[in-house]
């Protein structure tokens, strides 16, 4: 039986890191993830962990230190948000291409500008093609659970990719909710010891990491990364199975909420799923066959599994908390519709951009979307698939 607690999302992430007790944490504070390295440095000072905490002068250095630490053969973690992630950008690609299973806690926030410190997903969407595994979390519990599962996925020899666990800035990171923690010893046993096959500090095997990769080789190395991302799907499910055995909490690529007989559905990520579930419940009471799919694993994208879950709907809305500013749809919308088209599943689908810059997304907003979906299901008419909710036009 776990430990009942009440924690904010940031506290939950920091406690997961404490229980994981990585060799190195290199981080630079940035709102709204500041508290994670703050709490963690307290654990370091108190001797609760034996981690080497590197207080760097920038996020570029934070990720560089993680790259160096992980390449040396140690387990490295970091936390950041928004512009901090933007500043890491260059090293984000180095981490994944050098196949270093660094784990990051990303507390999602709008990338400036204009300057905004509140929640949307523009930071995460900016690195969606960088070769990191990306897990999204509805609440503090999921942010914690995803971090506990992270190293087992990232460090698997068929994967060896860095992984970021996302949670919504302020909405999740600063809200205190009930949580069930796992006992320290169980987490330690579950996560296990990091035993890299090749690493720089191995004096028995001097190696070179990150050499020049010319026209003859880079293509194949990128293919290897893509294969690793495909391999990650199997590993994510295996780790989830073991996690369920330990905690009873079940995880997959996505969560289907009342989808069995659903006629209208919403796809969303992170905390919005909580609001959407409430709306689904009230619509169900009125006899409306509404459902929801919450994406947990955004990278690798569940392109084969998602159309199975969504294919029988009469109307679908995909909610993006970041506008791709491409004159068309958001990133999640594009991925969902591409996977549906490829799987030959034809469902009338619309995109809703919402919650930009921390704009509150209420149950009323979600209801508005379901009402529009009911209309689409009835008439089949979509005037404009690229829509907004909660915006003053």
């Amino acid at each position: 039986m776990g430990i009942r607690e009440r924690l904010s999302g940031n506290e939950a992430a920091a406690i997961a890191m404490k229980q994981i007790n990585p060799d190195v944490v290199a981080a630079f504070p940035i709102t709204p993830s500041t508290e994670i390295p703050q709490y963690f440095s307290t654990f370091v000072s108190n001797g609760a962990v034996d981690t080497e905490f590197v207080a760097v002068e920038s996020e570029h250095s934070a990720m560089s230190a993680c790259v160096g630490a992980e390449a040396a053969g140690s387990r490295a973690m970091t936390a950041t948000s928004a512009n901090g992630l933007s500043y890491m950008w260059e090293m984000i690609y180095i981490a994944s291409s050098l196949r270093l299973p660094i784990v990051m806690s990303l507390v999602n926030r709008a990338v400036s500008g204009p300057l905004n410190i509140h929640n949307d997903h523009s930071d995460a969407m900016g690195v969606r093609d960088s070769g990191w595994i990306m897990l999204f979390s509805e609440n503090n519990q999921e942010a914690y659970d995803n971090l506990v599962m992270a190293h087992r996925i990232a460090e698997n020899k068929d994967v060896l990719l860095p992984l970021m666990v996302c949670q919504d800035g302020f909405i999740t990171s600063h809200s205190i909710e009930n949580i069930e923690l796992i006992e320290d010893n169980k987490v330690k046993e579950f996560v296990g010891t990091y035993k890299p096959e090749h690493y720089l500090l191995n004096d028995k095997e001097p190696i070179a990491i990150g050499p020049l990769d010319v026209q003859t080789y880079l293509f194949e190395h990128k293919f290897q990364q893509a294969e690793a991302m495909r391999n990650a799907k199997k590993v994510i499910l295996e780790v989830a199975k073991d996690f369920e055995k330990m905690t009873g909490r079940k995880y997959s690529f996505f969560e289907e909420y009342k989808m069995e007989d659903a006629e209208i559905g919403i796809v969303c990520m992170n905390s919005t799923a909580g609001t959407t579930k409430t709306v689904v419940d009230s619509l169900r009471e009125k006899g409306v066959k509404a459902g929801m799919v919450k994406i947990r694993v955004f990278r690798p994208f569940p392109a084969d599994e998602l159309p199975e879950a969504l294919g029988n709907l009469k109307a679908l809305a995909v909610m993006d908390k970041a506008d791709s500013l491409n004159g068309a749809g958001g990133a999640l919308f594009e991925d969902v519709t591409a996977s549906m088209y490829t799987a030959k599943k034809q469902v009338p689908t619309v995109n809703y951009i919402y919650g930009i810059g921390g704009r509150d997304t209420t149950s009323k907003d979600i209801e508005e979307i379901y009402t529009a979906l009911e209309d689409i299901a009835k008439t089949g008419n979509i005037d404009n698939p690229y829509r907004y909710v909660g915006l003053r036009k």
Binding site: S97, L98, R99, L160, H198, E205, P206, I207, A208, I209, G210, P211, D213, T216, Y217, E220, H221, F223, Q224, E227, A228
Partner: protein, 98 residues
Amino acid sequence: MSTNINKDTPASKMTIGGNIYEAGNALEFKTGDWRSIKPIYKSEKCTQCGLCFPVCPEDAIPVNKEGKREDFDFDYCKGCGVCAKVCPFNAIEMVNEE
């Protein structure tokens, strides 16, 4: 493993991230074919003064046990011409690579 990877190696046989699991591997990287001009060593003019080999950035001027320089190692000489520049006796002539 590092020695066996070449332009025909499939992705499945390549190391991840281009890692090289062997020390001293720069020796296997023959950079001599980057050359557009090459140095010709004229031993009859050479006084073995010892000015050329310390300035070679590629260590491509072998020195024997007697401390005397020998002909260039063209596996690694990139033809930069620094040696020809420092030679006071015109014992190194730069010519176009054929």
